[in-house]
C-alpha cells in the first residue's frame, strides 16, 4: 500500500492521503462532540444540587492533571503550537496530541468551563495529519499541507461547514493560499464533513428562519462592526492579562486550573449562560427567545469574556471559536437592542440577524481571519441571504481591531517570541539557509611569516580577494588580508623581500561563528562594508562567507519554492 502510494504523482498521492486524514479528523471531531453531549446530559441531571458550582473546578483539575501529568502534553488552547510546528519543525507533531486534548477538553467543557471543542479537534486533526504524513515518510512540505488538512477536516466536521474548514486551514494555520495547498485541504475538508454528516446527520447547527433585510439594516451593520472590534480587543486583552496573572500568581498548574474553574463556577451560579460551550444559548438567541433587557445582555458579554479568559488563561485546553460565537451573538443582540432603544420608529431586522453578524465580526477580528468568519457564519446558520452584511461586518471589524490588536490571537504569542515564520518570506529563507551551506572553503591560507613576494605568488594562483592568515604552529586564525588594502604595495618590487604578511594583515576583523543566524550576518556585512567575512570557531578558521554566495543561494531558495 505504502509502496504503491509513494510511486504515484505527488498531487494524486497528497489527495489520497488527505482523504485519509479527512476521515480520521472527522471521526475525532464526531467522537468529541458525541461524548460531550453524553457527559453534559448526565451532568445536567445533577444541576439542581448546591455543589454544582464546584464542577468547573473539579473538571479543570482533572483535565490539567491528565494533560500535564499523565500524558505530558502542552496545555493552553494549543493552536499556536500547531502553527509553531509548521513554522519551525516542518509540521512534526506528537502522536499523543491526537487524543490528549480531546480528553482534556471533554473534562473542561462538560464540567462547565467556558471554552469550545474546536481547538482540541484542530490539534488532534493536525496531529493525525502530521503522523499520517510521517507514516508515509512524506517530506516536510507535504507534511505541513497534511497538518492543514487535519485542521480543515476537524473544523469542517465539528461545524458541518466544509468551506469554513478550508478557509481556517489556509488563513489561520498555513497562512498561504496556493493551489498545491488548496486541493488536498479542500478534499480533506469535504471528506471530514461527509463523515460527520454520515455519523450524526446533516444538521445546520443554528438554523434560522428567513427574515426581511432593509438597506438601512445593511448600513447599521457597519456600526455593529465597531462594537465587535472593541469586543474582540477586550477579549484578547483580558485573555492575555488573565493568562499572565495566573502564571505569576500560582505556580502549580493544577492548582491554577482549579482556581480558574472555581471562579468560573461562581460566575455560573449567577449567570449560567456563561458555562460550557454555549451553543444552546446561541440557539436561543437565533430563535429570538432570549429574555428582554439591555443590561442583562451587557452583563453576560462581560461575564462571558471573563469566564473564557479564566478557563483558557488558567491553562486548560479549549477552543476560542465557541466563546467567540457566544460573545459575538450577545454583542449583536446588545447592538440591536441599543438600536431599538435609540430609534424605535424604524423597523429593524430581527435580533437573529444582528446576532449572526456579531458572531462573524468577532470571529474575524479575534482570529484576523475574515474569510473564516464569513464562511463559518454562512454555513453554520445556513443563511446565505445575509452574505453581504456578513462580509461587510467581517472585513470592517477585522480592519478596525487590527489597529488595537494587530495579530491574530493564535499568532500573537508566536510573534512575541519571534517564532512565526510564514512561507515565502525573507525570514523563512534566512532561517533555512545555514552557515555550513554558505561556507566557501576554497581559500588560500597564508601565514604571518611569509614575505610579500610569497604572498604575491599566492595571489597569482587564486581568484580570491580575501586571504585568511593562520598561525603556522597553532593553526589559529590571526587576521585577514584583503587585496584592496594591499593593492598599492603588491606592484612594488622593492618591498617584496622586506615586508612580511604579519605587517600587512588586518587583525581586527569581525568574524562569524557557526551559531550566528543569517540576519545578524547581514548586519555585520552592513557594519563592516566588506564583501566577505571569515567564519571562525574556537579560533580556527573554517571558511569565508560572501555576499555574492548568499545572493546565489537566496535566489535558489526562492526559485525552488515556486510551484510548477
Amino acid at each position: 500500500m505504502r509502496q504503491f502510494l509513494l510511486r504515484l504523482d505527488e498531487r494524486l498521492q497528497l489527495i489520497i492521503i488527505a482523504s485519509l486524514v479527512g476521515i480520521c479528523g472527522g471521526v475525532g471531531s464526531v467522537a468529541l462532540n458525541r461524548s460531550l453531549s453524553i457527559v453534559s446530559t448526565w451532568l445536567n441531571t445533577l444541576r439542581s444540587h448546591w455543589y454544582v458550582f464546584l464542577f468547573p473546578a473539579c473538571g479543570a483539575v482533572l483535565a490539567s492533571v491528565f494533560l500535564n501529568q499523565v500524558i505530558r502534553d502542552i496545555g493552553g488552547h494549543g493552536v499556536p503550537e500547531v502553527i509553531y510546528s509548521i513554522s519551525k519543525r516542518g509540521g512534526l507533531l506528537r502522536l499523543r496530541s491526537s487524543f490528549s486534548h480531546l480528553v482534556s477538553c471533554l473534562l473542561t467543557i462538560a464540567s462547565g468551563g467556558s471554552a469550545g471543542p474546536e481547538a482540541p479537534v484542530v490539534i488532534s486533526g493536525s496531529s493525525i495529519g502530521s503522523n499520517i504524513a510521517s507514516f508515509f515518510r512524506l517530506k516536510d512540505r507535504q507534511r505541513v499541507v497534511l497538518v492543514g488538512c487535519g485542521a480543515a477536516a476537524a473544523i469542517a466536521a465539528i461545524f458541518n461547514a466544509p468551506v469554513a474548514g478550508i478557509a481556517f486551514a489556509l488563513e489561520a494555520i498555513l497562512g498561504e493560499w496556493s493551489p498545491i495547498n488548496i486541493i488536498p485541504i479542500a478534499i480533506s475538508s469535504s471528506v471530514g464533513t461527509e463523515i460527520s454528516r454520515f455519523l450524526q446527520g446533516n444538521q445546520i447547527p443554528f438554523q434560522n428562519r428567513l427574515f426581511p433585510i432593509s438597506p438601512l439594516d445593511v448600513v447599521a451593520c457597519l456600526g455593529l462592526a465597531v462594537f465587535t472590534a472593541f469586543g474582540s480587543t477586550a477579549l484578547m486583552r483580558i485573555l492575555k492579562f488573565v493568562g499572565d496573572k495566573c502564571k505569576g500568581l500560582v505556580s502549580y498548574e493544577w492548582v491554577r486550573a482549579g482556581l480558574g474553574g472555581l471562579f468560573v463556577g461562581l460566575i455560573g451560579l449567577v449567570l449560567p449562560e456563561v458555562l460550557g460551550e454555549g451553543y444552546e444559548i446561541i440557539r436561543t438567541i437565533i430563535e429570538q427567545q432570549f429574555p428582554p433587557g439591555l443590561f442583562l445582555v451587557g452583563l453576560v458579554i462581560i461575564a462571558k469574556i471573563v469566564a473564557t479568559s479564566l478557563t483558557i488563561g488558567s491553562g486548560r485546553s479549549g477552543g476560542l471559536f465557541a466563546p467567540c460565537l457566544v460573545i459575538g451573538s450577545f454583542i449583536g443582540l446588545f447592538y440591536q437592542r441599543c438600536l431599538v432603544e435609540a430609534l424605535p420608529s424604524v423597523s429593524w431586522a430581527g435580533e437573529s440577524y444582528f446576532a449572526l453578524l456579531g458572531m462573524a465580526g468577532l470571529i474575524s477580528s479575534v482570529m484576523q481571519a475574515p474569510m473564516t468568519g464569513i464562511f463559518l457564519i454562512a454555513e453554520i446558520t445556513g443563511s446565505y441571504q445575509v452574505l453581504i452584511s456578513v462580509v461587510l461586518v467581517s472585513v470592517v471589524s477585522a480592519t478596525l481591531s487590527h489597529y488595537f490588536e494587530p495579530f491574530s490571537v493564535y499568532h500573537q504569542e508566536l510573534i512575541a517570541r519571534g517564532e512565526l515564520v510564514r512561507p515565502r518570506t525573507d525570514r523563512r529563507i534566512l532561517l533555512e539557509l545555514n552557515i555550513m551551506e554558505l561556507l566557501e572553503t576554497d581559500c588560500h591560507i597564508i601565514h604571518p611569516e611569509m614575505t610579500l613576494k610569497d604572498f604575491v605568488s599566492v595571489v597569482k594562483r587564486t581568484n580570491r580577494n580575501y586571504f585568511p592568515v593562520e598561525d603556522s604552529k597553532t593553526g589559529n586564525f590571526l587576521g585577514m588580508i584583503h587585496l584592496d588594502d594591499v593593492r598599492s604595495y603588491i606592484f612594488n618590487y622593492h618591498l617584496y623581500d622586506s615586508v612580511l604578511v604579519e605587517e600587512l594583515m588586518n587583525r581586527d576583523i569581525l568574524s562569524i561563528s557557526l551559531e550566528d543566524d543569517l540576519s545578524s550576518i547581514f548586519d555585520l556585512f552592513e557594519k563592516t562594508n566588506l564583501f566577505s567575512l571569515p567564519v571562525v570557531q574556537d579560533s580556527k578558521f573554517l571558511g569565508l562567507i560572501s555576499k555574492a554566495t548568499i545572493l546565489d543561494h537566496y535566489r535558489k531558495e526562492l526559485m525552488v519554492q515556486e510551484e510548477i
Binding site: L138, E437, R461
Partner: protein, 225 residues
C-alpha cells in the same frame, strides 16, 4: 541514470548540505531505495529547467578538455604549424601569407580573419619588440572548436611592423583562441619564453622545426603560473 546526493550537488552547484535539506523539506524530486536517496538524472534536469536553475554540466565539459595542460602552448604550436622563409613586403601581404599557411578549420573564413587581423594592427601594432610580432584578432574566434592554434612564421626578410621599439620584425606568432582566457594564457606563456635569452637566440638562428619545438617544450616545462 542515477545520481548520488554528491553528484546532484555538483550538477546544481550547491553544497551537499543544501541538497540534503531540500530532500528533507520535499523541495527536490528524489527517489529512495534500501540504501538511501538517489536522483534520476532526467527528472532532476527537468525539475531544474522548470525552476530556472542553472546546471553546471556544460562548464564541466569545457574544463575537462585539458585546455590548460602543462604543454598547451607546445600543442597549439604543433597544431598551427611552423614555417620558414615566409615572404612578403608589407604587413598586409605577410599576414595574408601567414593566414593561408596556418592550418585553420575547413569552415573558417580566411578573408574575414585577415580583415580582423588588419583591423587589430590599425588599432595598435602587435609587434611587441625585439623583432617579434603576435598578430591576433580583436575578438575570440568561436569556430575553433575549443582548440587554440599558434602558427609560427619565420620571415625571409625582416619588415617594418610599426613595432613599439621600431625594430623590424623577423618572426610572427599568429594566435587564434576560442576564448579570451585562453588567449591570455597563451600570451603569458609565449612572453615567458620570449624573456629567455636562449629562446631569443634560437629564434634568430632557427632553421629547423624540430629544434624550435624542442626548445619550446623545454621552456614551457619550466613555466609555473
Amino acid at each position: 541514470m542515477k545520481l548520488t546526493i554528491n553528484d546532484a550537488g555538483k550538477l546544481l552547484g550547491l553544497p551537499e548540505v543544501t541538497i540534503q535539506r531540500w530532500i528533507q523539506q520535499g523541495k527536490i524530486p528524489v527517489q529512495e531505495n534500501g540504501e538511501g536517496f538517489f536522483f534520476v538524472k532526467k527528472e532532476l534536469e527537468k525539475w531544474a529547467y522548470s525552476h530556472n536553475i542553472f546546471l553546471h554540466r556544460d562548464i564541466q565539459k569545457a574544463n575537462s578538455k585539458g585546455l590548460f595542460s602543462k604543454y598547451c602552448l607546445l600543442d597549439a604550436m604543433k597544431r598551427g604549424g611552423v614555417f620558414f622563409h615566409v615572404r612578403g613586403d608589407n604587413v598586409k601581404n605577410i599576414l595574408r601569407e601567414t593566414v593561408s599557411l596556418s592550418s585553420l578549420p575547413p569552415d573558417a573564413d580566411k578573408d574575414l580573419l585577415l580583415d580582423m587581423l588588419l583591423q587589430r594592427e590599425r588599432l595598435a601594432s602587435t609587434g611587441i619588440g625585439s623583432g617579434v610580432a603576435i598578430p591576433h584578432p580583436r575578438y575570440p574566434m568561436e569556430n575553433l572548436a575549443g582548440e587554440a592554434i599558434v602558427t609560427t612564421c619565420f620571415l625571409e626578410g625582416a619588415i617594418d611592423f610599426n613595432a613599439i621599439d621600431g625594430i623590424p620584425v623577423f618572426v610572427l606568432f599568429l594566435m587564434l583562441s576560442p576564448a579570451t582566457d585562453t588567449h591570455l594564457k597563451f600570451l603569458s606563456r609565449l612572453s615567458f619564453c620570449l624573456r629567455k635569452d636562449s629562446f631569443m637566440y634560437l629564434l634568430k638562428n632557427c632553421t629547423e622545426k624540430k629544434i624550435f619545438l624542442q626548445k619550446v617544450e623545454e621552456i614551457e616545462g619550466s613555466f609555473n603560473g
